[in-house]
Amino acid sequence: MTEKSWMYAVLEAVQYEMRQDPNMLWLFELTAPVASNPGLPVINLETEFTRKRVINTGIDEMWMVAATLGAGLAGSKAATYIPYQGAAMPFQIIQNHAGKLRHMTGGVASMPVVFVMEMTGQTPGFAGQHSDYEIDSYYMHIPGVKTVVPSTPYDAKGMMASALRDPNPVVFLYPAGLRELVAEVPDEQYDVPLDKAAVLAEGTDLTIVGSGAGMPEILKAADALKADGMSVEVIDLRSLKPMDTETLVASVGKTKKLLAVDQTYYTLGPAAEVVARVAENVDGARFKRIAFPDAPPPASPEMFLWMRVNADHIANAARKLVG
């Protein structure tokens, strides 16, 4: 057990699997699979496994994903890291091929592949294409791929291990805003399931549900609300698809109040699915959603920071819902 950055923890999981499986491939574009961490050996997949297995490509994310899929179909485990700028380029390959091939072939196609899709760090100042946080919605509607989004270094490593061991295609959403988070992470390989939400805090007055890059602000808001005397249950979805309905329903069955939070745009963000699933299963509850407005992120930090959901927005919404 050592303090590790998210980045390092994830690459540890990848390195372990690549050592186990001499055929496994890693495809990247600009983000070299290199990480260092105080007190630990530098991980450099490119030098350790050579350019035969670690492939640096041109700017063609469609190819990266298609090639990863093709490697899987040929019986080799493969994963690719798509930088956020290219995160929608391979959409059709995942939607129409990775997501459908197993079913369309009656179970015959094998696809032990992981698509690591970086999401922007939502850094102020970069605008539109470089500050959005929207691909969670697009990828979670696709049947036949598992779409997950960890929010802690521990989950990131464990879910990467699980994803690489899963025989199904996994879209592993990777919020760039979290990659410098540091936490205690075990040195050995371990699994975190790809279909279970995590209850991060238990409470009875209100359930707050979010995912990925939204979690740090939710936890901050929960602290503020607790200080106010509110008993808040906090759930991190972790897996967007399949979504863990049971955990959500059990929680709101108890609190009768659900605040669902998205970093992406309001309309048809993951929070819509959260609210809908609970509304179908819990009678007499009250619901609220907050999210980024249905607008692209503007460059100006003044505009952007006002629009992006933060701990104050969350705490205010919670107070309105409970009060």
Partner: protein, 403 residues
């Protein structure tokens, strides 16, 4: 944009096939492919005529597979035209048989995805599948939506696949197939398993953005990848000149610095020869090859509109074809260089078969095809609830249509 109808293949003498020895000489002198196009630098003839080295048995088997495709086509067309209870369909391949068989004859067709050479097919897959050695009965059952079909009734014609023979499957989308195929080639290169990946694609695939991606990345990484363009002059209802600015798509290989071979797609021996050159190159780690086979399909884009039961080809116009018709004379001219006739004449000419033996093979194949369709028709239909399976390796998804 050139708009003249491409008639190069038709200008050769119909069905002409010289004796084995003469043939060898011609191909060595002029290059087998060079009779088709002189603009392409890398003519098959440069490397000798490899079909001569095939075992007699293999050569006869090529003929048999061509016939198997042809009779599968004709039987299917007749069923679609005459049996209103038959629900199967096909994107017919008749006319192009020599391409699939010539290519697959240069491949390893056994051992699963880890040993066999891998073939990626298109929305027009049954010819490729048969050439690769698919189980005909189970394919017919699949195309008839049967639970015991090759893919348990989930796939039907446009998605049939059988990785055990390296037939990686049909794909209903135009574009992504070749790019996915390069990924298989990448895996093969990394693990050193010595396999080769072949992607079939129509002339229609040239215009897709994916075309560049497949050629560029396979070139950069020197992948064991062969892109076979079956240029049958039309993509759906449009002549290829509407989407291709050059006469020979093979010339698109030039800037990448990889060979682009134009080959007569009606002559299975010439196709085999081109394939052999590309396969040897790929296995030697020298990288990809683009092969363009000039060919023609005898039916319309999809199904059998315009066709007559018992007759080969669809001469009636396709009612769906609004902007671009295939002229009947063009079709008839191509049929004069029929791949079945050409392969039969070569084998007879080379002294491998006589007419009676060739006929006997045809009779056998017909019976085999008839039996496959009959077997398929007796297979059980799918259970509705099974639609919830095979989304993931384990388990089922929920029946959300039910409250």
């Amino acid at each position: 944009m050139h708009r003249e109808t491409d008639t190069d293949c038709q200008s050769s003498e119909p069905g002409f096939s010289p004796g084995r020895r003469t043939f060898l000489k011609i191909s060595v002198l002029a290059g087998a492919a060079a009779t088709i196009s002189s603009t392409v630098a890398y003519a098959a003839g440069e490397s000798g005529f490899w079909a001569k080295d095939l075992e007699d048995e293999q050569l006869v088997d090529m003929y048999r597979r061509i016939l198997r495709i042809r009779w599968h086509e004709r039987t299917m067309a007749d069923k679609m035209l005459t049996d209103p209870t038959y629900r199967g369909y096909n994107h017919f391949y008749a006319g192009q048989e020599a391409v699939a068989v010539g290519i697959c004859s240069a491949l390893r067709n056994e051992g699963g995805v880890e040993k066999a050479d891998l073939v990626y097919s298109t929305h027009r897959p049954t010819g490729h599948a048969i050439a690769k050695g698919i189980d005909l009965k189970r394919m017919c059952a699949e195309n008839d939506f049967r639970a015991t079909g090759l893919n348990n009734g989930y796939a039907a014609e446009m998605h049939i696949s059988d990785p055990t023979i390296g037939f990686m499957g049909a794909d209903g989308m135009i574009g992504p197939g070749p790019v996915i195929a390069t990924g298989s080639a990448l895996a093969i290169q990394a693990r050193g398993s010595g396999q080769v990946v072949v992607n079939f694609g129509g002339d229609g695939t040239y215009a897709t953005p994916h075309f560049h991606s497949a050629l560029n990345n396979s070139t950069l990484l020197k992948l064991p990848f062969i892109y076979v363009i079956e240029n049958n002059l039309y993509h759906q209802y449009a002549h290829y000149s509407l989407s291709v600015p050059m006469k020979d798509i093979a010339t698109a290989a030039e800037p990448y610095g990889i060979p682009g071979i134009v080959v007569d797609g009606q002559d299975v021996m010439q196709v085999y020869n081109a394939a052999k050159i590309a396969v040897d190159r790929a296995r030697a780690g020298e990288g990809p090859t683009l092969i363009e086979a000039k060919t023609y399909r005898y039916y319309n884009h999809w199904g059998a509109p315009g066709a007559t039961p018992g007759e080969l080809g669809a001469f009636g116009y396709d009612p769906l074809a609004i902007s671009s018709f295939r002229p009947e004379r063009e079709l008839r001219a191509w049929m004069q260089r029929d791949p079945v006739d050409i392969s039969r004449r070569i084998l007879i000419d080379w002294g491998l078969l006589d007419d009676a033996e060739a006929d006997a093979i045809e009779t056998e194949v017909k019976a085999e095809v008839t039996e496959a369709f009959a077997w398929a028709a007796e297979q059980p239909l799918c259970r509705p609830e099974d639609g919830l399976k095979h989304v993931f390796v384990d388990g089922e998804v929920e029946a959300r249509q039910l409250a």
